[in-house]
C-alpha cells in the first residue's frame, strides 16, 4: 500500500494506482479528456495535470502512479493556470461554432470550457488559417477534422478494442492529425463502420451521418406509408438519451413515442430476428448434414452469423477466404426491409413504391448495410433510412413528446410479434442462444437442457467464449446428429473476432458455429447507442435484455405466430425459393487496407 496526500488529505491506495484513481477515491474529480475507462492510458491532452509539492513539472494524473509520501494538489494556482491554458489551446484549434454542431450540449470540450469559465479567447484562431477536411463520404460516419482535439481515443479504440486499425495518427508537428491510410476517406479503407470511435469521441469530430430530415419528410408526406422497425438493443438504451439511468427497459414507451411521431406502422426487428433463426438454423443443419452424411469435404464449416454488418465488412477485408463460411442469411434489418416492400404491402394492399422503410438501430454500420447495392431484393431499396438510437431520441425531443410520461403501447402487426429469443439478439451470445433454443428442439423434440431456457455458457463479457451441447436421442430424420457434440464460439469486439478467426485459420479452433458481434457487449454496445459507454453501462443494458427475455410470453423463435404465419402464407419453407430471393444475400471481397 502507498501513503500519499491529496489536497492535504491522507490517502492509502494499492501500489500502481494512478493519481487520478486515488483522487477519485477521495471524492476529488480531476477533469480529463484523452482518458477513457475502456482504453489504455494516453496522457497526451494534459488536462488532468496536477501539482506535486516540490516538483518542477506538473504531472498527468491519469498516467502517473502514486508514490510514497507524494503530496498532490489538484486545484492549485499553477494547476488552474495550466488547465485553463490547455483548454484555451484546444479551443484555438477547434471549430467552436457549437450552435451548428451535432454534439452541442453533449460535448466534453464544451463542458470543460464551461466549467472553467473560459471567456474571451486571447489566443489566435488557428482554424481559419489551416486546412482541414470534413469527410462525409461514408454513409455511416462523418469525420470533421476541424473539431478534432487529437485525444487519440478513436485511434486507440480502432486499434485495441476493435483491432481494425483503420485510423492512425499521421504526420507530426502542426500537421499532425488523426487520419487513415494515405489520408483516404473512411469509406475507402478497412473501416467497418462499427462506430465505436463515435462512441468515444469527446467532441463532434466523429459523429454518425444523420438522416433525420429525410425521415421527417417521409413521415410528413401524406402520399408515403412509413413503416419503422426497432432493433432489440434500442429498447434497453433509448432511456439513457431521455434522462433515465442505464438498464431501463422502455419498449412500450418507445412504441408509443414512435406512433406519436407519425409512423404509419410501428413494427419490430425482433420479428425478423426470429425469422433469421429459422433460416439460419436450417442453414446450419443443412451444412452439418452435408458434412456428416454426404461427407462433403468442401462444406464450409464453421458457419458464422451474418447479422452484424461491421463483422461482415471486417471479414470481407481481413478474412475474405472465409466468406463461404458466412451465413447467406441477411441481417434481421435487411430481411425486414425486403419484406416491408413485398409481403407487407401485399397484405396491406399498398403500392410498394409508396412504402418508406425506416429502421431504428443501435448501430452505425447498418447505415452502410442499407446502402449495399445487393440490398434491393424487393425491387426497391429495402431499407430507406437507418436512424441510430441517438437520432430517435432527437426526433422524440423535436416532436415535443414527453417521453417519460407516456404509457406503454404495443407493436402493430403483421411484422411486430416477437419472442424472448429475438430480443436477446441485442447481447453478445444472444444469436447463438436463440439458434440453439430452436435447433435443439427441432432436432430432438425437447427443450434445451438449461434451466429456464437460459443458456448461460454462451453469455458473459469475455471476448471469446466457447460452449458445446451434446446431441442425443434425436428425431428420426436428424439421427445423424446422435452423439455429436455441437461446438460453438462467440466473440464480441472485432479484436476478438480477429483472434478467433486466426484460430480457425490455424486449425486451433475447431467449432461448428460462430457468432460474431462487431461491438463490445454486442449490439447493446453498438456505435449508435447513447454516449457515454463503459463496461458498467453495458453490463446494465445486458441485464435489461435478459430481463426482457424472461418477461416475454414466447421464448423460442419457432413459436412466433407471425413467423409461422409468414411461412404458411408467403415464404413457403426456410431456404425455399422465396426465402432465397428475399432473405439471403452474397458478399464482396475487399482490399486488405
Amino acid at each position: 500500500m502507498v501513503n500519499l496526500s491529496i489536497n492535504g488529505m491522507q490517502v492509502k491506495v494499492p501500489e500502481g494506482t494512478t493519481i487520478l484513481e486515488a483522487a477519485k477515491q477521495q471524492n476529488f474529480r480531476i477533469p480529463t479528456l484523452c482518458h477513457h475507462d475502456d482504453l489504455c492510458v494516453a496522457g497526451n491532452c494534459r488536462v488532468c495535470v496536477v501539482e506535486q509539492l516540490g516538483g518542477k513539472a506538473l504531472l498527468a494524473a491519469c498516467a502517473t502512479p502514486v508514490s510514497e509520501g507524494m503530496q498532490i494538489l489538484t486545484n492549485s494556482l499553477k494547476v488552474r493556470s495550466a488547465r485553463k491554458h490547455v483548454i484555451e489551446l484546444l479551443l484555438s484549434e477547434h471549430n467552436a461554432d457549437c450552435t451548428k454542431c451535432y454534439k452541442n450540449g453533449k460535448c466534453e470540450l464544451q463542458d470543460l470550457s464551461n466549467e472553467f469559465a473560459v471567456g474571451d479567447h486571447l489566443l489566435i484562431d488557428l482554424i481559419n488559417i489551416k486546412d482541414y477536411t470534413i469527410d462525409r463520404f461514408s454513409p455511416s460516419i462523418q469525420k470533421d477534422d476541424s473539431k478534432c482535439i487529437r485525444c487519440q481515443r478513436c485511434v486507440r479504440t480502432c486499434e485495441q478494442l476493435q483491432g481494425v486499425n483503420a485510423l492512425t495518427v499521421a504526420h507530426k508537428g502542426d500537421h499532425q492529425k488523426i487520419s487513415t491510410f494515405e489520408d483516404l476517406s473512411m469509406a475507402e479503407v478497412i473501416c467497418t463502420n462499427c462506430g465505436q470511435c463515435i462512441n468515444r469521441c469527446p467532441t463532434g469530430a466523429l459523429v454518425e451521418r444523420t438522416y433525420l430530415d429525410e425521415v421527417w419528410d417521409a413521415i410528413l408526406d401524406p402520399s408515403k406509408h412509413v413503416v419503422v422497425q426497432t432493433a432489440p438493443a434500442v429498447r434497453v438504451g433509448l432511456g439513457e438519451e431521455l434522462g433515465l439511468k442505464p438498464g431501463n427497459r422502455v419498449t412500450g414507451q418507445m412504441v408509443s413515442a414512435l406512433k406519436r411521431l407519425g409512423f404509419d406502422s410501428v413494427l419490430d426487428t425482433d420479428f425478423t430476428a426470429d425469422l433469421t433463426i429459422m433460416e439460419e438454423g436450417t442453414e446450419l443443419l443443412t451444412r452439418l448434414k452435408q458434412a456428416l452424411v454426404d461427407k462433403d469435404p468442401n462444406v464450409a464449416l464453421p458457419l458464422t452469423t451474418s447479422c452484424s454488418p461491421g463483422w461482415i465488412k471486417f471479414i470481407e477485408h481481413a478474412f475474405p477466404e472465409f466468406l463461404p463460411n458466412v451465413s447467406t442469411c441477411k441481417s434481421p434489418q435487411q430481411m425486414f426491409g425486403a419484406l416491408a416492400k413485398t409481403y407487407y404491402p401485399q397484405v396491406r394492399k399498398l403500392d410498394p413504391k409508396d412504402v418508406v422503410s425506416v429502421s431504428i438501430m443501435p448501430c452505425t454500420a447498418k447505415k452502410y448495410e442499407a446502402n449495399r447495392p445487393e440490398m434491393r431484393s424487393s425491387g426497391y431499396k429495402d431499407v430507406d433510412y437507418v436512424l441510430t438510437t441517438r437520432e430517435l431520441a432527437r426526433m422524440i425531443k423535436q416532436a415535443g413528446v414527453d417521453f417519460n410520461k407516456l404509457s406503454e403501447d404495443k407493436y402493430d402487426s403483421i411484422m411486430g410479434a416477437s419472442t424472448g429469443a429475438a430480443v436477446i439478439f441485442g447481447a453478445t451470445g444472444g444469436v447463438m442462444e436463440a439458434a440453439l433454443r430452436t435447433a435443439y428442439e427441432l432436432i430432438t423434440g425437447r427443450e434445451v437442457p438449461f434451466e429456464g431456457l437460459n443458456i448461460t455458457p454462451v453469455r458473459g463479457m469475455e471476448g471469446v467464449r466457447m460452449a458445446s451441447v451434446m446431441i442425443e436421442d434425436c428425431k428420426e430424420e436428424w439421427s445423424f446428429l446422435n452423439g455429436v457434440e455441437l461446438k460453438c464460439a462467440v466473440a464480441h469486439g472485432l479484436v476478438n473476432a480477429r483472434q478467433l478467426m486466426d484460430g480457425v485459420k490455424s486449425g486451433e479452433v475447431n467449432v461448428h458455429f460462430i457468432e460474431v458481434m462487431a461491438c463490445p457487449g454486442g449490439c447493446l454496445g453498438g456505435g449508435g447507442q447513447p454516449i457515454p459507454t463503459n463496461e458498467k453501462i453495458r453490463k446494465k443494458r445486458t441485464e435489461a435484455i435478459y430481463a426482457e427475455d424472461m418477461s416475454m410470453e414466447i421464448r423460442k423463435s419457432h413459436e412466433n405466430p407471425e413467423v409461422i404465419g409468414i411461412y404458411k402464407e408467403f415464404l413457403g419453407e426456410p431456404l425455399g425459393h422465396k426465402s432465397h430471393e428475399l432473405l439471403h444475400t452474397h458478399y464482396t471481397e475487399r482490399v486488405r487496407y
Partner: protein, 156 residues
C-alpha cells in the same frame, strides 16, 4: 480471391531485415533508397508482409521527414533552414537552385530527377550554409559552388 502481385523488392527487404515491428523502419528506409519515396502500393505490400495495418505503416512513415510518401526525384536536395545557415545566406543558395532547376521549393522537376526541399539543422553549422543531396552533405556553399555541384548532378 484478390490477386496479390508479388512485390519482389519488399519481399527481399523483409528477408533482409525481418518481419517484426522492429523491421518496419529499416525496410521503409531501404525502399526510399531504391524508389526515393514510399508509394501507396509499396506501403500496402509492406503491411501485408509484416502483418500489420496499412494505416499503421502510413502513420509511422509520415512521422519521419525522410520517409517521403509524396513522389520525389532521383536526387533530393535538402537545404538547411535553421538559424546558422539562415544567417549565412541560405536564401541566396535557394534562389540559385530554383533558378537552375526551374522549380520552386517543395517541387520536383518534370523529369523526376531533382526534388528541392528544406531541412532543419543537419549538423554543419560551422560551415554554413549547407545542404544534403540524398545522403551526401555539401557545405560552405556559395551560389557559384552550388552551380558547379548541380552541374555535376545534371550530367549524371
Amino acid at each position: 480471391m484478390e490477386t496479390i502481385i508479388e512485390n519482389e523488392l519488399v519481399r527481399e527487404l523483409a528477408n533482409k531485415h525481418g518481419r517484426t515491428r522492429e523491421s518496419l523502419i529499416p525496410i521503409l528506409q531501404d525502399l526510399v533508397v531504391s524508389n526515393r519515396y514510399l508509394s501507396k502500393q509499396d506501403m500496402i505490400d509492406v503491411a501485408r508482409e509484416l502483418d500489420i495495418s496499412a494505416a499503421d505503416v502510413f502513420g509511422t512513415a509520415t512521422f519521419y521527414t525522410f520517409l517521403d510518401t509524396e513522389v520525389r526525384g532521383k536526387y533530393i536536395i535538402r537545404i538547411c533552414k535553421t538559424i546558422s545557415c539562415a544567417m549565412k545566406g541560405k536564401n541566396d543558395i535557394l534562389a540559385t537552385i530554383e533558378d537552375i532547376l526551374k522549380v520552386r521549393l517543395g517541387e520536383t522537376t518534370p523529369d523526376r530527377k531533382f526534388s528541392l526541399l528544406e531541412a532543419n539543422c543537419i549538423g554543419w553549422c560551422h560551415k554554413a550554409p549547407a545542404m544534403l543531396i540524398n545522403d551526401t552533405p555539401y557545405t560552405e556553399l556559395t551560389p557559384e559552388k552550388v552551380t558547379e555541384i548541380l552541374r555535376e548532378y545534371i550530367k549524371k
